[in-house]
């Protein structure tokens, strides 16, 4: 079956993973002498090729294969690492490659002439290595290792411009919030290990036949599931651990597109799909609720943002919420489908935004303006200057909004419709979830419409500068080519021949999660119409509001403010958790210094005082008695010595005294 490369899929997969690592190491060794990024580019091209032909094609819909090697033995347990290749992992690895490749190309133009570019390529390769490794890990601990490594790479890339205060604050925040999730993941691993005695995914989830029986109703399963979900929550920016993602936009836009939109943040979804068999109903319900909450809150927050990248970040969070709901309702195939389509269009959105920012930064530098090039309020009317970028952006936006003919239409419908079916199956308040999702979909259309309208329509405020001769032009072709490629990927033909039926998309067909909720035929008909119609309606409203300047809300509207401030969540965290922790630490340090160490000091003081008392006793009592005796003797001797003072009168006096005494004696006798 593998005719392109005469290597086994496993070897190919290892190659795919390791090539970026070698690129990273080579870049690290060469350092500043190589700034072109050719090494990284070559590595990712090779990886993509091998991944497509050497791994994906032989594995997809064909076979599940794995290979393991003993890593080390601890106690009696031998930890084995390996490569697990099945539909899910092969798809994920390919996706990462395919998204990485255009981003690499794009970065050549976008990051050109940055002085730290050699570090950029190094970090980017490191990220690719970690992300690719993550996708094919066999062992949960191995997965965890790559999981942390992508976080680390993301830390490095967010803080790429490390002299920028906001950037270094953001990367610290990102890493720490992710650490919370990591702890959850680690606890999950520890629980699985404690109860199943193995961390091997193939053994755990019956992919080689030897399954370990897991009683799904056991308490520990719930806890383990929630622990894994905590990990996924942090990585996939779920409410309330999403706070790091908007801040992470401080990194270069190319990085945001790859890491914080398409791949790394999807790792949480991927993890949940991987360990899906472990989840019981309680956990899935929690996943569902959190997913819905995230989708809703992020969509609301997106409405109030002015920063073009932050809108996209919240959009990402919101879409990740959709995927979470997909997992929560058991349709993890739909989640993966949405993950894939989302990777394309969201990456494209970021790249387009990057192109806009790129040009705006140039303008800012040339015209010596003091503006934030990412701020929507400074943009407008750009469709005349950047028509190709505008078209790409529109395609991506339509896809995000779920407009027919796009991939987003298929994947989003798959989640929303399955959610209706799921709610219909369970009845009751569960129906709230699909309704909320529908509302979120409409909000999505609205906020992305707002983005488009404010950026590309209306008047350009700085036209005067362009009239003066400062060139403001379309993005360079090195940036446009990857964008066109992704735009093509955002349309429906890549995923299926059917325009409307998501069930016939090839990803859905292969990754069949086996959800068997009763099919609601009306849902398949009405929901797409509702979503599309609603989207058009909201765009019309947006058109009127933003292009025709008929904005109905005042600047100080509380709702707008609430959305702009992201629901005051950052402030809440800052006050409660950050200040709480630092305050606690300060209190504890005071406690340590004055109580714990104070006890030591008190003890030593006590001993010293005791010694002083003992010394006093020794000096004045023990030695005092001796001194008293000696002193008395000395005094008497001194007294007698004075008799011999050499004075005749005194001698005479004494003699006479003796005579008197003698006479007295005689008389008395």
């Amino acid at each position: 079956m593998n005719t392109f490369l005469h290597i086994s899929p496993v070897t190919a997969s290892i190659l795919v993973t390791l090539l970026p690592l070698f690129a990273c190491l080579a870049q690290a060794l060469i350092g500043k002498k190589s700034i072109s990024g050719n090494i990284a580019l070559v590595a990712i091209i090779a990886s993509t090729g091998i991944s497509l032909f050497g791994v994906f094609l032989p594995i997809w819909n064909e076979t599940t294969t794995l290979q393991k090697w003993a890593w080390f033995t601890i106690g009696e347990y031998t930890l084995e690492v390996g490569i697990l290749l099945n539909n899910l992992t092969a798809l994920m690895q390919l996706l990462v490659c395919i998204i990485s490749l255009p981003v690499h190309i794009y970065s050549r133009a976008y990051m050109k002439s940055d002085e730290g570019i050699h570090r950029y390529w190094m970090y980017l390769s490191l990220f690719c290595f970690a992300m690719l490794g993550l996708t094919v890990s066999l062992n949960l601990l191995q997965l965890y290792i790559f999981w942390e490594l992508v976080g680390f790479a993301s830390y490095l890339l967010i803080g790429f411009w490390f002299t920028k205060e906001t950037a270094v604050q953001a990367n610290k925040k990102a890493f720490l919030v992710n650490r919370i999730g990591d702890i959850g993941f680690l606890i999950g691993i520890a629980l699985v290990y404690a109860h199943c005695g193995t961390l091997d995914l193939s053994v755990l989830f019956n992919q080689t036949g030897t399954q370990i029986a897991i009683d799904k109703n056991a308490t520990w399963v719930t806890f383990a599931g929630l622990a894994f979900f905590l990990g996924a929550m942090a990585k996939s920016a779920q409410f309330p651990l999403h706070v790091w993602l908007p801040d992470a936009m401080e990194g270069p836009t190319s990085v945001s597109s790859l890491i914080h939109a398409a791949t790394m943040v999807a790792a949480g979804i991927f993890l949940l799909c991987t360990v899906f068999p472990l989840f019981n109903d309680t956990v899935l319900l929690v996943v569902c609720i959190i997913g819905t909450l995230t989708a809703l809150s992020a969509a609301i927050f997106a409405l109030g943002q002015h920063d073009i990248k932050k809108i996209l970040a919240f959009s990402t969070i919101s879409q990740l919420g959709f995927m979470m709901v997909g997992v929560g309702i058991g349709a993890w195939d739909a989640a993966m489908f949405h993950l894939t389509t989302h990777a394309f269009f969201k990456c494209l959105l970021f790249l387009c935004a990057g192109a806009v920012i790129h040009e705006m930064t140039h303008l800012k530098a040339k015209a010596k303006l003091d503006i934030d090039p990412q701020d929507l309020r400074h943009l407008g009317g750009l469709r005349h200057f950047m028509p190709k970028t505008f078209i790409c952006m529109v395609v991506a936006s339509l896809s995000l909004a779920g407009f027919p003919f796009t991939s987003g239409y298929l994947s989003k419908d798959s989640i929303v419709i399955t959610a209706y079916e799921w709610a219909n199956h369970l009845r009751g308040v569960y129906v709230l979830i699909p309704i909320l999702l529908t509302i979120v979909s409409l909000l999505t259309a609205f906020y992305i419409g707002r983005l488009i309208f404010k950026t590309f329509f209306g008047d350009f405020k700085y036209r005067s500068y362009i009239d003066e001769g400062i060139i403001f032009h379309e993005a360079p072709s090195l940036m446009l080519v990857p964008m066109f490629f992704l735009a093509a990927g955002s349309l429906f033909p890549l995923f299926g021949i059917s325009l409307t039926d998501y069930h016939s998309a090839w990803i859905m067909l292969t990754l069949d999660a086996g959800t068997n909720y009763p099919i609601l035929a009306q849902a398949h008909l009405f929901i797409p119409i509702l979503l599309t119609g609603g989207a058009i309606l909201s765009w019309f409203m947006g058109w009127r509001w933003y292009v025709k300047q008929k904005y109905p809300l005042s600047e100080n509207n509380r709702f707008v403010h609430f959305a702009y401030k992201q629901g005051y969540l950052n402030e809440f965290n800052e006050h409660i958790f950050v200040r709480g922790t630092t305050g606690l630490s300060r209190i504890l340090y005071t406690f340590d210094r004055y109580v714990v160490d104070g006890f030591t000091k008190f003890f030593s003081w006590l001993v010293r005082q005791l010694s002083v008392v003992a010394y006093w006793f020794d000096k004045h009592i023990v030695d005092g008695i001796v001194n008293l005796l000696a002193g008395t003797m000395y005094y008497i001797g001194h007294l007698v010595r004075h008799v011999q003072n050499g004075q005749l009168q005194t001698y005479l006096g004494f003699a006479l005294t003796i005579v008197v005494l003698g006479l007295l004696y005689l008389i008395i006798k």
Binding site: Q644, G646, Q647, L648, Q649, L652
Partner: protein
């Protein structure tokens, strides 16, 4: 009637005054004066007792001897005092304590 005891009491008083002068005075010449007083007290005793010795006249004879001796003692004593003053530049007996150990 003046009895022997009268003389003795007077002589005792004079003697004790002399004794005090010898013990307490801070001037060597006054000590010498004190000694003279004591010698006079003694002479008074001599003559008072000599009243009862008509045979030998010992009291009065030795009174004469005592007067002569006192005169000689004063002469020698003054000479010594002058020498002491030259040597020590003081005649305060308290400052003259060569005998001290």
């Amino acid at each position: 009637m003046i009895t022997l005891t009268h003389f003795l009491v007077v002589s005792a008083c004079i003697f004790c005054i002399g004794l005090y002068a010898v013990l307490a005075k801070r001037n060597t010449i006054m000590i010498l004066v004190g000694i003279e007083l004591m010698i006079n007290a003694a002479i008074l005793n001599f003559v008072a007792f000599g009243k009862y010795d008509k045979v030998n006249y010992g009291g009065q004879v030795f009174a004469i001897f005592a007067i002569v001796l006192a005169a000689a003692a004063v002469a020698v004593g003054l000479a010594i005092i002058l020498n002491v003053y030259r040597h020590f530049n003081t005649i305060n007996p308290q400052n003259i304590h060569e005998l001290k150990d």
